[in-house]
């Protein structure tokens, strides 16, 4: 009874969200900013959840997200840049002939292939990152807590240095970066318009991660988080589960990176610096380490307030003829970092702590309030 009620409520709210998206799609002209912010939030939600899988659920403090995102972004971008724009993009150094030949071959394939090609590009990028994660993981995952953090941070810097190096000019276009990346494709032959695609992809991926967390593997991850030695004593293979979590997290980070490339339309190695990892960490911490819904909520709140609600902090403000002194470029980020520090120091659980969003809890809160009111009356 309660279960079915919750399912119905979830389906309804998902439907409402989709309906809003379709409405926004109808009125694209007036809502450009809202749509773009929501798309960015959806992409960041996926990265945050995948980071949470590693940091919050498996207890491996990894700071390599930006590196894996860049792998996904570059692979997707290289696969998707249209053949006729190649010379314009690689105008400085020319493109590697092998890649050009591959792209010419792929562009000659029939239309059904072209319609799934962007998604295949996303998955290829993600798989590429997963392969690299599985190789690197063998070495890196032997390290403990803060050593792991600094090693993964270093790894993401190594990847960035490789991508911007002149030796890879023919593939990554070195420090010039890639542009003319096609925007989001439509799905199911136009049933899902291009604007909504990132939401669908993110939702599917996050669902997959949630299913993983709820499986026996997920419980093994959490056991490792709580106590590595005890988990090992219970027969959980540390290496197997740690590398599994690391590879899957990298896979989805890279997939989100690929979507970020489609979202931004042009990428360069600088985009994927340490700051990007810190931005995602901020979302995870504010949302609650160890809560999927917290990360999703955090992604939307943080992105919206950063790009939209708190914008006014960056503009000079005049109140009743008095110039408010602090408001100028950069103030928004200061407020943001102070907010992060407050969450870390005082409100340590973040938005959700380790809890998940649930209808029961919301109803429970209402009931509790009502009872309290009644109790006060009598």
């Amino acid at each position: 009874m309660r279960r079915s009620r919750n399912t119905v409520l979830s389906v309804i709210s998902a439907g409402v969200f989709l309906a809003i998206l379709y409405m926004l799609n109808m009125n694209r002209a007036g809502n450009g900013m809202l749509i773009s912010i929501m798309q960015k939030s959806a992409i960041f939600a996926l990265v945050a959840v995948s980071m949470n899988l590693l940091n919050g659920f498996t207890g491996l403090f990894s700071l390599g997200q930006a590196g894996f995102m860049s792998i996904g972004a570059y692979t997707t971008a290289i696969l998707l840049i249209p053949v006729q724009s190649l010379d314009g993009v690689y105008y400085m150094n020319g493109i590697n002939p092998g890649i050009r030949a591959l792209k010419v071959f792929l562009s000659a394939l029939p239309p059904w292939f072209q319609s799934v090609y962007p998604f295949m590009a996303l998955i290829v990028g993600a798989l590429f990152a997963a392969v690299i994660a599985s190789i690197v993981g063998v070495a890196v995952l032997r390290l403990k807590s803060d050593y792991l953090a600094i090693a993964t941070l270093g790894l993401s810097e190594i990847i960035r240095a490789l991508f911007s190096s002149p030796q890879l000019d023919g593939i990554t276009n070195g420090s010039y970066g890639l542009n003319k990346i096609p925007a989001f494709p439509k799905m199911f032959g136009g049933l899902v318009p291009p604007i909504i695609t990132p939401f669908i992809v993110s939702a599917v991926c996050i669902t997959l991660i949630v299913l993983l967390i709820r499986s026996s593997y997920g419980r093994a991850f959490m056991a490792i988080r709580e106590d590595e030695i005890a988990a090992e004593a219970m027969g959980i293979s540390l290496f197997k589960h740690k590398s599994m979590s690391f590879i899957i997290s990298s896979f989805f980070s890279a997939l989100a990176g690929g979507m970020l490339a489609m979202y931004m339309r042009s990428i360069e190695a600088k985009t994927f610096s340490i700051t990007l990892t810190y931005d995602i960490l901020l979302i995870v911490v504010i949302g609650g380490i160890g809560s999927v819904t917290g990360s999703v909520l955090g992604a939307f709140l943080v992105t919206a307030s950063k790009e939209w609600w708190l914008r006014f902090f960056d503009q000079p403000l005049e109140l009743f003829g008095w110039d408010v002194p602090l408001f100028r470029t950069g103030f928004r980020m200061v407020i943001f970092s102070i907010l992060l520090m407050v969450v870390v120091l005082i409100y340590r659980r973040g938005l959700m702590g380790t809890n998940e969003f649930s209808w029961d809890r919301i109803f429970g809160r209402f009931k509790w309030k009502r009872r309290k009111v009644q109790g006060g009356g009598s």
Binding site: A151, L155, I158, L162, I274, L340, R348
Partner: protein, 293 residues
């Protein structure tokens, strides 16, 4: 490459390495006691650069250096008090996130206060005086850096090994809880540690930026991470090890740039870190520790 060019680059590398060594000491001291990578240390170093720019604008240089070092030390202590002390008994992940938060805050604060445009670092004429030996030429700061580094390390070693404060620091890094039970004022020890670390970062900052001419809000990130690698390389918790690590990274990095692999000079540091952690996780001079259940 001729012998002169190699020598010239080595000189630059040794000088860079000296500055790295000074910063690395801050990491190694803090990690030795708190088991915390102080991600904010690189940004303290960057802020010291800005403090120097502003104090030198209104004071003669000896006073300006004094003011810069004083403010840097106070900032280091304040950061410890506000951001690390409340989390002393929480899991290591939270205190590390707090350190990252401080680093994020300092970068954004610097961007806000001083804008992201690189600011020219003022020249102290005395430090910039050029010396020539044969075909080699070097400014005073290049020659001074390694000497000053070694002198400071010697002083620090005397402090750690011969004084009562040093004994307390050693006790705290050996076993935090027992040191507390033995009546050591752990908060005072940590404050002293942060003060020394920040002081050395301030000195390192003056030496480093005098050679590099400009400061941006992000110019502390990479040197900071590299110096942590230097500390790991030398064996974390080991002061001479950190300095040797600093010299090593500084020299190799300069040589890589000289050979034309400048994009890989940053990546090299991290490759070194990963290889080092896999081959000899305790570093060159570190002690082996066992994890207790």
């Amino acid at each position: 490459m001729s012998i002169t060019t190699i020598l010239q680059h080595s000189l630059t590398g040794i000088s860079l390495g000296g500055a790295y060594g000074l910063i690395a000491i801050g990491y190694t001291l803090v990690y030795g006691i708190l088991r915390l990578i102080n991600f904010a240390h690189g940004d303290i170093f960057m802020m010291a650069g800005y403090f120097m720019i502003f104090s030198l604008a209104s004071f003669p240089w000896p006073i300006a250096i004094g003011i810069t070092l004083l403010i840097t030390v106070l900032m280091g202590i304040a950061i410890e008090r506000v951001a690390y002390k409340p989390l002393r008994s929480s899991p290591r992940m939270s205190i590390m996130i707090s350190a990252i938060g401080v680093s994020y805050l300092l970068q954004n604060l610097a961007t806000y206060l001083f804008t992201a445009i690189p600011r020219g670092y003022p020249e102290i004429p005395l430090l910039k005086r050029i010396f020539r030996v044969g075909e080699l030429s070097a400014s005073l700061v290049t020659l001074l850096t390694p000497v000053l580094t070694i002198v400071l390390v010697a002083l620090l070693m005397i402090l750690v090994n011969k004084t009562k404060t040093g004994m307390a620091m050693r006790a705290a890094s050996k076993d935090f809880e027992t040191a507390k039970l033995m009546g050591i004022n752990i908060n005072r020890v940590i404050t002293v540690t942060f003060a020394i670390g920040s002081l050395l970062a301030g000195i390192g900052s003056i030496l480093y930026f005098t050679d590099r001419m400009s400061v941006t809000p992000f110019s502390g990130t990479l040197p900071g991470l590299k110096c942590f690698v230097a500390a790991v390389f030398g064996g974390i918790g080991n002061i001479p090890g950190a300095v040797i690590g600093g010299f090593f990274i500084g020299i190799v990095e300069t040589l890589l740039v000289a050979l034309g692999y400048s994009t890989f000079s940053d990546a090299f540091t991290f490759v070194l870190l990963i290889v080092m952690l896999l081959v000899k996780p305790t570093g060159l001079f570190g002690e082996k520790t066992m994890e207790k259940v």
